[in-house]
Amino acid sequence: MASIDYPLERPEAAPREFSFSESLYKWVATVDHKRLGLMYMVSALVFLVIAGIMASVMRLQLAVPNNHLVGPATFNRLFTMHGTTMVFLVGMPIVAGMANYLVPLMIGARDMAFPRLNAFGFWIFLFGGVLLYYSYLGGSGLSGAGSAPDVGWFAYAPLTEKAFSHGASTDFWALGVLVSGFGSIASAINVIATCVSLRCPGMTLARMPVFVWVMLVDAWLVLVVLPPLSAAQIMLLLDRFLGAHFFDTQFGGSAVLWQHMFWIFGHPEVYILIFPAFGTLSEVIPIFARKPIFGRPAMVGAVVAIGFISLGVWAHHMFAIGMTSWSNTFFAAASMLVGVPTGIKIFNWTATMYGGKIRFAVSMMFCCGFLLQFLVAGLTGIMLAIAPFDWQLHDSYFVVAHFHFTLIGGLVFGVFAGIYYWFPKVTGKMLSETLGKWHFWLFCIGFNLTFIPLHFAGMLGMPRRIYTYAAGRGWESWNTIATIGVFFQIAGIACFAWNVIQSVRSGKAAGDDPWDAWTLEWATTSPPPEYNFEKLPVVRSSRPLWDLKHPQDPDWKYD
């Protein structure tokens, strides 16, 4: 291929004005993966704010013993909706949104494999979420008054049976989550077909960015484990609407069956949620450390291993149901094994940084926060996997602290790292680093202030899902500190919101490649044109832009 000289200056683009209805139609009827990805992310962030407000109210209620800020019914609805929202309406759309926006760009494709299915997936996710929230108007819960579901996000049978949960709120929960689950399935099939079929020439599986690999495994996991939840929800609806007896203990049904099916979904779900953060770190850390990812095959292998092992660990959520000692040992062993590939990932990220020249942009700071906090989450996870220790810790505030370390300290930090990293690509504007640092430090301090104390409350015997507690049981101070932390977190999020608004209005122009990065999404404009690439690129290594930037020392010689 001959060398081509390009003129360096670009003519100014003439902005085209659209009327409101035109642009509304453009968004509603779009099948463009970037618009859909963006819509996923925006709705996820909106739901994040809603669920965050719910969490804040709960923390206020628990700040002092014998508090009467909200009653038991309200509190139970709050934690049910908080959990359901966070998992299904924040976590899942973040997975779908990041995959949608980034996968085609990273593998040099023009769109997802099934663009219309993609649009369908987004809308049905959104309508499912609306249906769930409609329950605040149309449902009525355990104690009868009209409102949202109050059976917990894992909705253990038989509490969800008609006999114990009157009214329609549990139906809204099952239907809303079921419907939005169709969206996740649609999006997962799309991601897989895209990764497999739409890779640009030369983009072999071995050269695919780690982020894309992670999303591929993630989508596969969604396809395997979401149907068990749907199956359980269909059974629950059959019980409630048609009088079937799947979870009806009066008719010999099993109360434990729901737990099995729920956690066959539920535990891999945790990995589904955390994977986008894994992928983000694997892209961000190399760029800011100026080194390729350390041990690419091991990183990909670890993700695949986590995907497979996670299918065999579900019953570690059920150590307290009285399983045989053999089952307990088996699930304890399987759960601890997950620690091995997870450890490999943490070590490899660290090794990527080792010997580099680390530039602490806000994105990188969130990655470092992730590493340390996720380490804590992983180690408390090992403790929870030890069945006898779990008999004490199960369903206590220790567990609450553990999975918030995973999902906030891990997922949310990872997502923020990703937002600070890819925001310039998506909007063409840079986020402010100063505000970003405020955001990071406030959020990091607040997060640790909230969730470190909760470990201790749990070890002092504080169970989950209680709306109030008596004084004198040693839980007050831990809870008060935790609530104080929430204010720091809110301040951090406010900085972030302000940062986004400021940048979109009057941010510094980003240019195509502000971070001097190496993957294909940085080869096009920011924001990318509808067709992503004029010509589909050809790649020869896992760092195509490195090859172009260092023609005398390209990667493909070694890949």
């Binding site: 079937a244 799947f246 008719f251 050809v538």
Partner: protein, 201 residues
Amino acid sequence: MAASAIVPPSPELLESEWKTPDRGKVGITFLILTETSLFTMFVATYLIYIGKSLTGPYPKDVLEIPILATICLLSSSGTIVFAEHALEREELGRFKVWWLATLLLGLIFLAYTGIEWRHLIYVDHLTISTNLFGTTFYSLVGLHASHVIVGAVFLTLVLVVTLRGFPIATQKRRVMFLSWYWHFVDAVWVVVFTVVYIIGR
């Protein structure tokens, strides 16, 4: 400095044109994977609840082995292959015949299920709320039947548009996906049949 990367072509691009698997094939494969996962849960539930019903009627009292229906459904997998072959060779007449045969076999299966359910409900007084057997039987067989219905709807659509003169030969790929789905529904029936009518009895 201008970009002037002089890059030799990749070895694998030298060999041949870059090829990736067909996106439709990938999509339908993974749709089948996720459906398999769904069916696995219902089948597992059925197996777990075998013999756990507190009251009758029990499977051995009321279930009859649906031999005819099974033969119909399984042979429809063959007829749809013949139809595909005919379409491959652009023999539209034979395609229509085989396609119609597939659809009819599917409909016979559904009709049999309808008759079976009617008998169970009105004669044997087994409904979904009678006992665990009723619960699991109707949900598993019903889930499978609903898949047969979806398949039959698509088969009908293809037949109707073909009869109305639509150039179906342009849609070989999509016809193939439909046939994959149909094969999957048949394969599931083998499992459901074994579990419900053999192990369950």
